[in-house]
């Protein structure tokens, strides 16, 4: 099957005043099939949000290609790009800032249809009503302004707006991280339900491994502008092979485990600056397994079963420091 989204060697650099540049995304490749949800996990500064913005062409990549279905999205400009925008839509992180405070809810959801001239003008209101119901809002709420909604309701509005053009792909950039845990669960369940009902395809950006495991079919772990590990969700969580992935897994806290994690695997320090990324493995400075090879040479991407890709010199040779993973590997 041909993938719906095919990203090859995507690079986004932001030039700085002093001549150097921030290597926000530095050579990322992945494919997403129709109906899948592809999660990108990483810490702040990893470049996951910039990847999302590059897919949406809100920032311009300096290299690489983005193909959506048969369209070369990365190469399009101006009007040609604008007319394709109905094919991919985005849900932003902060539902408080991603709705125009001057537009009523109904206008906000209808706006993409009007701007892109989709469907007959008379049918648009009906379509908006449909979207309101689909995300669990009453169509009567159309006349309200965004500030009259709660955070969770606003995010429902944003989802309705993203879905109204019947996009082939929806990019969700941390759609639940600004919400309270109970509301977060409502929105996650809504996204999952809509995906099944309407066969949506997601690229889902998050810092939370548990959320990604819950919602995604495939996961990429991003560190300092690069994917360090990519795999189908079940494969990744059953047998992760990159030390950075392990550190994220070990740091995740569970409400079921009340023993303080004194002997748990942790890494020291914080990610280095993406302005001058380390020349060998970018994680080497924080990795407890790092050797001189790691610090000097860029790790190759090794492929394991089920398309499990790991960018580590010692992938598959290290024993995972997490008991659950070690037990599974044995």
């Amino acid at each position: 099957m041909k993938p719906l989204l095919d990203v090859k060697d995507l690079k986004v650099h932001f030039p700085l005043a002093n001549g150097s540049s921030v290597h926000a995304v530095d050579g990322v490749s992945f494919q997403v099939n129709e109906g899948d949800s592809f999660g990108i996990v990483g810490e702040s500064g990893s470049g996951k949000s910039t990847t999302a913005q590059a897919l949406m062409r809100l920032v311009d990549p300096v290299a690489g290609s983005i193909k959506l279905d048969k369209h070369d999205l990365g190469a399009l400009e101006g009007e040609a790009l604008r007319t394709l925008r109905h094919m991919l839509q985005m849900v932003f992180q902060d539902p408080y800032s991603s709705l125009n405070p001057r537009l009523r809810a109904g206008q906000a959801v209808r706006e993409p249809l009007d701007l892109m001239g989709l469907g007959p003008a008379r049918g648009r209101d009906k379509r908006v009503d449909e979207m309101f119901r689909a995300v669990g809002l009453h169509p009567d709420a159309k006349r309200l302004f965004p500030h009259q909604f709660s955070g969770g309701q606003r995010q429902r509005l944003c989802i309705a707006r993203a879905m109204v053009t019947e996009p082939r792909l929806i990019v969700c950039d941390e759609p639940v991280s600004a919400l309270d845990v109970a509301i977060q669960a409502q929105i996650l369940n809504l996204l999952k339900k809509l995906q099944i009902e309407k066969h949506l395809t997601y690229v889902f950006i998050s810092h939370d491994l548990a959320v990604v495991q819950h919602l995604c079919t495939h996961v990429a772990v991003m560190y300092l502008g690069e994917f360090v590990e990519t795999a189908p969700t079940q494969e990744l969580f059953a047998s992760a092979k990159h030390p950075y992935t392990w550190s994220l897994m070990a740091a995740a806290l569970s409400p079921d485990d009340t023993t303080p994690s004194t002997d748990r695997f942790t890494v020291t320090g914080e990610p280095p600056s993406p302005i001058n990324p380390p020349k060998g493995c970018r994680f080497a400075g924080r990795c407890p397994f790092a050797t001189d090879t790691c610090r000097a040479e860029k790790p190759p991407v090794k492929t394991f079963a089920e398309g499990h890709k790991v960018a580590c010199h010692y992938a598959g040779e290290l024993t995972p420091p997490l008991p659950e993973l070690a037990a599974h590997a044995a």
Binding site: V181, A182, Q213, F237, A251, A252, D257, T258, E324, A327
Partner: protein, 333 residues
Amino acid sequence: MDPVLEITDLKVGVDTGRQVHSVLDGVSLKLTPGKTLGVVGESGCGKSMTALSTMGLLPDRFAVSGGSIKLMGEDLLAAKPARMRELRGNAISMIFQEPMTALNPVLTVERQIAEVVELHQGKTGAEAREIALEMLRAVQIPSPEDRLAAYPHELSGGMRQRVMIAIALACRPKVIIADEPTTALDVTVQAQIFRLLRELQDQTETAIMLITHDLGAVAEMADEVAVLYAGKCVESGPVREILSNPSHPYTRGLMACTPRLRLGAAAASAAEEGLGEIPGMVPPLGRFPKACRFAPRCALADARCHAEAPPVVPTGPDHSALCWHTNKMEQVA
């Protein structure tokens, strides 16, 4: 052991100009030396107001209308502003969520730590500098001698939060209130900060009030837990009790809402796991239901829940819940 901080029946209201809305309605908490109390709830439940009342830093139009807050026997609500200034940063200090905005951008790290020491302990010059250096070492900042001269913007998020902790600990306070101290940080850094807080607590016997929405953080850090909902403490008890046997439908709901990481062999079944939901949302100030405040969102609610405020029901050793249906918890989630 005697509690170092005891909040009894605290009532706080906000004056909207037309009427006074209840924000906290009879919250009682206890902090023991060397222990951590996790205060949990969604935004709008009163977590931060509890903290700010204790610090004597309630915003304009908010006022305490009843109850008492005793720090080692001294009633903070009766203390004069001058006395509160003496206590703040000294006997009781606070760690904020966003270290970038809570630190002064135009002062060096050394000045900011030395300032509290000079203010409260009357130490100056070389002595204050020595304490600042010692504190940076205590919070495990690498090459602390060089960091003394740094400004907040020159530090990473994790380092800034360490500096905040250093400032909070500089005067060896009896109580630290940590308001979502790791929410703005990455998970790997969060793990480091929690480990640091625990180590420091073991050395200093400080009591910590950890305000958080994250039950994972509570499991990791807390000894005791208080769950707040719409200005009421709906459940309190030892952490193991609360998380393994929650006795209030709200606590149960929060547990069910939290996605779990399933690693290794357990990953295979993760896809089938549903995520629980609490329908609706926290009622806004002034619209708290009269009887049980959680009733409109509760699966167990019956006519009595909507008519009569529930009693505090003991459900285990030191464990109690504010619910009519503590015996029917298995029916939830």
